[in-house]
Symmetry: C2
Subunit: 356 residues, 2 copies
């Protein structure tokens, strides 16, 4: 039986909280954090909630050299009833463990991880912001800590959870963003680490984002690593296209991150009897649909932004304006329904939310 | 003019040194380390040599989440004359800065980096081991330290150098190793980060190594990410094949690490009038050459192992034994000449070594 009786050490003095209205993404952190250690001889041990504090590591710790690490991102929401609830945390824990397997990191007992998230959020409950669009972002992550320069899986790890009260991810909110198609750099390729939520995927993607940021593009749209022909995903979102009444999203092919929001969007569309298909889709197909006037909507899906309509897709010198740069009906309905479920404003027919 | 007047704080009590004969790779660290900070408003500042000590970082530091980091690996050698010398440190510094550019990390002034390496090795000179095959491994690295969960280049970094007295990387020494061809996982693809010395490339490769380690394979041979047909490199070595009198190594195609040892091997072979070609080479070509009895030698090249003859190459159920599992003449001559230059036993006609 896995340890669940975490020791809890609370802060003496709580930090002042940022104004709910002025929250940015990932800049403020709460009073406490969760830490648990792993040693190959002991397994995971010493789960504890402690005051938010710096981590002290040997400079030879493997995380600094070979990047053996995974992370997750999910949110806790303040409901109108005054509760705090999590959105599909089970999905994040399962994905964490799938990422662990790809990265040769020992998996974490499901119940233990769930308990750690719940208890930590519970301890810092007064940090869950209440203003519209705000939430408490939960960042579980695991880092390799063995001080050793050989290239091999670490024998020691730390599992850490930190919490950050956040506002809207995109300054634009639910307003459409401009996305640039990346045709030089590659995020991931089948057989690589694209399917895992691991640091290297993000480090490698920065250069592409930098390239287009000056031109006003929020993020890049990645193409496949083999032929640079097929759509993969956006910076930190999966992507959907509504073409001629049908919603299409790239199938999970081994290089795309299997998003929890993506899965939820598919479930919602099905429940509404809106045709939705997971399949390979090329940039050419998108272009053609656009030319024919059949590209009705495009949007990204992700925990940070929920639903982010794409108002413009640019590649080379071509700028495809989608739905007159306005939020489409399906995008809007998905955003509204998802957020209403997340904030407990409507019934949750799927049992997606879990009360803390 | 970049800062070079580093402050030096020496330890009060030196650590006991490990026995030269029992050194492993990357397990022991010296008394001191070099640290320099970067802030977007200040540039690189406060270069200092301090006692080897833990690093203290905010748990939201970007290195833990998005893996923005680069590293290098080079060595200092004790010569028979009692000097300490570095092997081509200029190449490593240039490569560090090329990696920095790919990973959106601010570059470091060449002279400053060189001075940091030299001064640190000088302070820990008595840590350079003297037994045959031993050396002082130098690990410069840069990590993103800004506490921020947005996916963007960090505004703060640390440049750190640590030193580790090392024995031979492979237990087998110059004896041939067995290498397995990897046909499921991919290390890198053009447009990705393969050319940069960055953590994510190594984290992603662990699973492949794990898969074959039990069967006695030292490392895996990576194939290209597009077609899994062309040879890329070995775990932490570039790779060469001697076919019918000609030495062939995969051309630097954007996904292969440009090894300093690789470059030196090419220079040496040219100086000996042994034909050497950098070009795309397929696994099929290797197989065919082996069947015809023309695959005379195969070897890896890298700072850790210098030259590592490949005695067996395995893929699927086929085991190609190369040169009867014995070290070939060219491999031997390269190893001997490289190490003689590195240890100052012969003249250095190329000006590769730099005295500390
Ligand atoms: C690369 C990438 N794709 C897609 C997503 C969306 O996944 P989720 O809906 O689980 O947040 C994320 C996570 O934010 C991501 O990092
Ligand atoms: C992936 C990879 N390939 C090749 C090499 C060889 O490079 P070098 O000869 O500069 O050590 C290394 C470094 O050790 C490496 O990590």
């Amino acid at each position: 039986m896995a340890q669940k009786d975490f020791t809890i050490t609370k802060v003496m003095t709580k930090k002042p909280k940022p104004d709910d209205q002025e929250l940015e993404f990932g800049k403020h952190f709460t009073d406490h954090m969760f830490v648990m250690d792993y040693h190959i001889d002991k397994g995971w041990y010493d789960g504890r909630i402690i005051p938010y504090q710096p981590i002290t590591l040997d400079p030879a710790s493997m995380i600094f050299h070979y990047g053996q690490t995974v992370f997750e991102g999910l949110k806790a929401y303040s409901t109108s009833k005054g509760d705090v609830q999590l959105f599909r945390p089970d999905e994040n824990i399962h994905r964490l463990n799938r990422s662990n397997e790809r990265m040769c990191i020992p998996t974490i007992d499901f119940d233990l991880a769930m308990e750690a998230i719940k208890q930590l959020v519970s301890v810092d409950k007064d940090w869950v912001p209440k203003a519209k669009g705000t939430s408490l972002y939960i960042r579980p992550y695991i880092i390799a800590t063995e001080p050793y320069l050989g290239v091999a899986p670490s024998k020691q790890y730390k599992f850490i959870i930190i919490l950050s009260p956040v506002g809207a991810y995109y300054k634009e909110g639910i307003n459409p963003v401009k996305i640039a198609v990346e045709n030089e750099y590659i995020r991931a390729v089948e057989g690589g680490t694209g399917e895992a939520k691991t640091a290297g995927n993000y480090a490698g993607s920065l250069i592409a984002q930098e390239k287009v940021a000056d031109d006003g593009y929020a993020q890049v749209l990645w193409l496949d690593g083999h032929e640079k022909r097929y759509i993969e995903e956006v910076g930190s979102m999966n992507v959907f296209f509504k073409i001629n009444g049908e919603v299409i999203t790239p199938a999970l092919n081994g290089s795309i991150l299997p998003g929890v929001t993506r899965k939820s969007v598919i479930d919602l569309l099905k429940s509404w009897d809106i045709p939705v298909t997971e399949r390979r889709i090329s940039l050419d197909e998108i272009k053609e649909a656009h030319q024919k006037g059949q590209l009705e909507e495009a949007f990204g899906s992700g925990t940070a932004a929920v639903i982010s309509p794409i108002g413009e897709l640019a590649f080379n010198q071509v700028h495809m304006v989608i739905n007159d740069m306005k939020t489409g009906d399906v995008s809007k309905r998905l955003y509204d329904t998802m957020t209403q479920i997340q904030y407990g404003d409507i019934e949750d027919p799927f049992d997606w939310t879990i009360r803390v």
